[in-house]
Assembly symmetry: C3
Homo-oligomer: 132 residues x 3
């Protein structure tokens, strides 16, 4: 199990961790890469790595769907929106690995989704072998 | 493969199954724990286990996002909202395991998300070894 | 690693790929099946395979939650809604396998979720052995 440290710079942020994940892949392995976020106000997703406007649009749309201020909220920290957005994106991603390389689509990048930053965060990476 | 039985007590419910999952982890193993929900109106997520208001807020926000009564709905059972909320949370969670212990963040718990209860539900748990 | 080709016929579509996935399961294996979508405007989910109105309702509700035209959008392709809906459903699904059979609930099917079709798409399938 390896750990990737992520430093988010804004309250809401999507940080491309693909290169950092790629550096952890064992030489020549076939199977899956399991990436896990150990937080409850940040998550992980996969999405387009070409036009950064995609990530900006995703964050704006999520902020409209799940507004920061919700009159019904009872959580004393006041960040329940970040908790829900994290559950909506998910806390783990699994990516195929072939001959030691991540098998991502042409436009796919792996993103750490910060919903209550800026903070220092960490993500674990593991590798599981495929049945031959 | 092991099975955890879950009894939901309300129409919408988030039930902490972390302790039940923990009891199934093989001694000394390293890898991932795979938890799977065999239903279509209930899902699984990870979120904060400290202040129960977080789970209450998540359920309220989801109910506002995906209201139970939707005029467009054509499904004869009338519970399409539960189906969508389940897909939004997901049907499986994968958690790292190190030396026979779940590697969860300090505030993370594993939750069974009931969206059309109360019902008797079941969840499967499996363990996959990591590449050394 | 095996590949399943999917041809979507509409702009928004949920295509049942359960039978195609089932045909790839190795004889007698125990573990998990990992299905991965290599796109950023399509995802994967699990949901009810009995009444097709469930999938129709899910797509209608998602289109209301994340409208195609969003005045804030900056992405030049104009399909940010498809990107977000894909992240909300997820890009991978993992299903238990026992004695060479997918362990799905009675009403569960595996769905390819097209959000910006019609297009030719592909999905990878892999199998990981369980700890005995």
């Amino acid at each position: 199990m390896q750990t990737i440290e992520v430093k988010s710079g804004k309250h809401s942020d999507m940080i491309d961790i693909t290169a950092a994940v790629r550096r952890t892949v064992p030489v020549g392995m076939n199977g899956i890469c399991h990436i896990f976020c150990k937080h409850t106000t940040a998550g992980l997703t996969i999405n387009e790595n070409a036009d950064p406007a995609v990530c900006a649009d995703i964050q704006t749309a999520l902020a409209q769907l799940v507004p920061w201020s919700q009159t019904f909220s009872r959580h004393f920290e006041g960040n329940s929106a970040a908790h829900l957005k994290s559950s909506m994106m998910g806390f783990s991603q699994t990516v195929p690995v072939k001959n030691g390389a991540l098998v991502l689509g042409t436009w796919q990048g792996i993103y750490f989704c910060e919903f209550d930053g800026p903070r220092s965060r960490s993500v674990t990476v593991q590798f599981i072998a495929e049945v031959e």
